[in-house]
Symmetry: C2
Subunit: 383 residues, 2 copies
């Protein structure tokens, strides 16, 4: 499973394993959850699905579609879109960034979640999820929803790390190994972090949405630090840390620091952050390996803006049973990470990170393609 913590083996075993592999035996299963880059093209592609707001399926109607689309429109349109975009993109990982179900309109939270995620499972894709602020509003508590997500087929979702006590449910990380048979096959060349950004504040003097707490940030910082240390000090040592991508649900306040001319995509509503700044942007910045953070929550914002070298990206709403903007297509974000090729022709570490969005229109139109990060070009930037 994906949530075993930072390393699967104590160092001496790790070394033995590396030597065994170097001698031609492939015993290492790739990154946590078996994730690794493809030899074909040297890529790893993540499809982000935000705010499905799944309810009871066929009987749960669409919101904010054009009058002509309303008839017969339901959660099943969300399902159909998911199948279409998965077929079109063939991702290596699907990430559901919260409000996967809309608990209040679900008569059985587990069933709703099963139905919401079903296309990824049916297509045998590995997937991971974090909680939003609506997932627990049905028949299951926040902890139970997360446990359910972890136990589902092909799920790489994790509970919290063991041995420490941190806030929230479902704070974990996944490692993505280099291409099989190459020098970096046994290293995590791309790190994915998943955090529970909470639902609502539990202290009355800070009204509003939840936030990523100090305990989660301390875990994140330590995890990032450990991963960087392994990458740069264990053989084969690498000069620079592997890039990291962070997934959670509720925007940190820094998503509000852009003007229309400073981002790609659209901002059609306010940034619904918590009413305080808990410092997670600073913690990501301090870590140094984070190149982009991907969230949901505000359905009709879909921009990416760069702040101090970190791309802050909305997904845009995916689910038909969620508020949106009639006539503005539901959408998903793709992140495609590209490895560098050595002179020998062998794949090495990450060279660039690109993104684009797919719209649920007739042609699954691709929009807003852009490079989020290039090795050596803009990392990190002084604030």
């Amino acid at each position: 499973m994906a949530h075993l913590g930072l390393r699967r083996f104590p160092p001496p075993l790790m070394v033995l394993l590396f030597l065994a592999t170097a001698a031609g035996k492939e015993e290492y299963g790739g990154g946590s959850g078996g994730l690794r880059f493809r030899r074909e093209g040297g890529t790893f592609k993540v499809l982000q699905v935000a705010d499905m707001h799944f309810g009871d399926g066929r009987s749960t109607p669409c919101e904010d579609v054009l009058p002509a689309q309303q008839r017969g429109c339901s959660d099943l349109n969300t399902t159909a879109f998911l199948y279409r975009v998965l077929r079109a993109e063939d991702p290596d990982l699907v990430v559901f960034t919260g409000d996967n179900i809309y608990g209040a309109d679900s008569s059985d939270a587990a069933k709703s979640m099963d139905a919401a995620i079903a296309p990824a499972i049916a297509m045998k894709l590995p997937w991971a999820a974090v909680l939003g602020n609506h997932d627990q509003e049905g028949t299951l508590s926040r902890e139970s929803v997360m446990r359910h997500l972890v136990g589902m087929k092909n799920s790489l979702s994790g509970l919290n790390p063991e041995g420490i006590k941190i806030d929230g449910y479902g704070n974990y990380n996944l490692e993505v190994g280099g291409v099989e048979g190459t020098l970096l096959a046994n290293k995590s060349v791309l790190n994915l972090y998943f955090l529970d950004s909470g639902d609502y504040s539990t202290v009355w003097w800070i009204p509003g949405y939840g936030w990523i707490k100090a305990s989660q940030q301390a875990w994140f910082r330590q995890t990032s630090s450990d991963l960087q240390k392994r990458y740069t000090t264990e053989e084969p040592t690498q000069k620079e840390p592997a890039p990291g991508l962070v997934y959670f649900h509720i925007p940190v306040p820094e998503f509000g620091s852009f003007t229309a001319s400073s981002f790609t995509g659209v901002k059609q509503e306010g940034i619904s952050s918590p009413s305080i700044n808990s410092g997670f942007f600073t913690t990501m910045l301090e870590s140094g390996d984070v190149k982009a953070a991907f969230i949901g929550h505000d359905h009709i914002n879909d921009f990416c803006g760069k702040l101090s070298g970190i791309q802050l990206c909305y997904d845009g709403g995916f689910g038909y049973h969620a508020y949106g903007k009639a006539g503005w297509s539901w959408r998903a974000r793709v992140v495609s990470v590209q490895l560098e090729k050595a002179e020998s022709g062998e794949w090495r570490g990450v060279k660039s990170i690109k993104t684009w969005k797919r719209l649920d229109d007739q042609h699954l139109t691709t929009i807003d393609s852009e490079v989020l990060w290039n090795r050596g070009s803009n990392e990190p930037q002084p604030i």
Copy 2:
């Protein structure tokens, strides 16, 4: 010593101890470090000393005094002021909030520190210290300076808590017990937190001063939470958490949120915060028990302003070998915490927290007296 962690005894022993005490045997030594409120008056008084910038003593000249004061003026003027104010106030605890020595002008950091703190020790007062950004610039590293502070006579300073790994040197807490022989004699009715706010950023992409890291905040949050739980759930249970006061050196950015009409004291220079917000104000706010935070660092700011129910207070510079403003007296902040009296006449928990400043002028003038907090009046305030 003061840094034994959150509780000195496992719960069953704690209960036994309480029962023993209730039966008339005094086995509990008061708060950590033996701190407790005085029966006489039901008060606990803290004198804060900020930015002594101590160097080599007599040979280290004063900065920013009037021309008429310059001759013969040295570190010894700082020492003289400390003796005077300690005699005048007779505090229960002295807190040195960093830049206790000015490392770069000290030929022996340990000697400088010994000389700087000497008046508190000579007067047999318990004291505690945190690091500023200049303490380590002499012959001792940051860690060594903190170890030295911990080992000094009457020091209640602590190293980091054991069993967890957190950033910085000297993150600890002290408990102040209720009046001996009363119902709350075995409880910490006032909690003091001390944090290392760092010196300078160690990541080039975040230039400027250091900040309180996620790991420190997680420890702080957990400590506060544990203390609140003990206070409200262990016999004799209390309805509301005991108030907390926080001491560190470098201002969090929220110190910059006041206008002249919204604080008591003066702001004569900018707020020299780190260039990012690491969320510690949020963590203090979230905790719910923190009533005030006291810092130094900016010598010619000495105001207290209230934000969301938390008083953010500068001390104002104390040390003559530090930048200041000629003619503007060096000063120290007093915090006097007052217990409530039960109908029986017995002292209970904290009722109010007052503050004032003492100037190093002919009469040790008291200025800017104000109530920082009253039980029941303004705690916490919605943001």
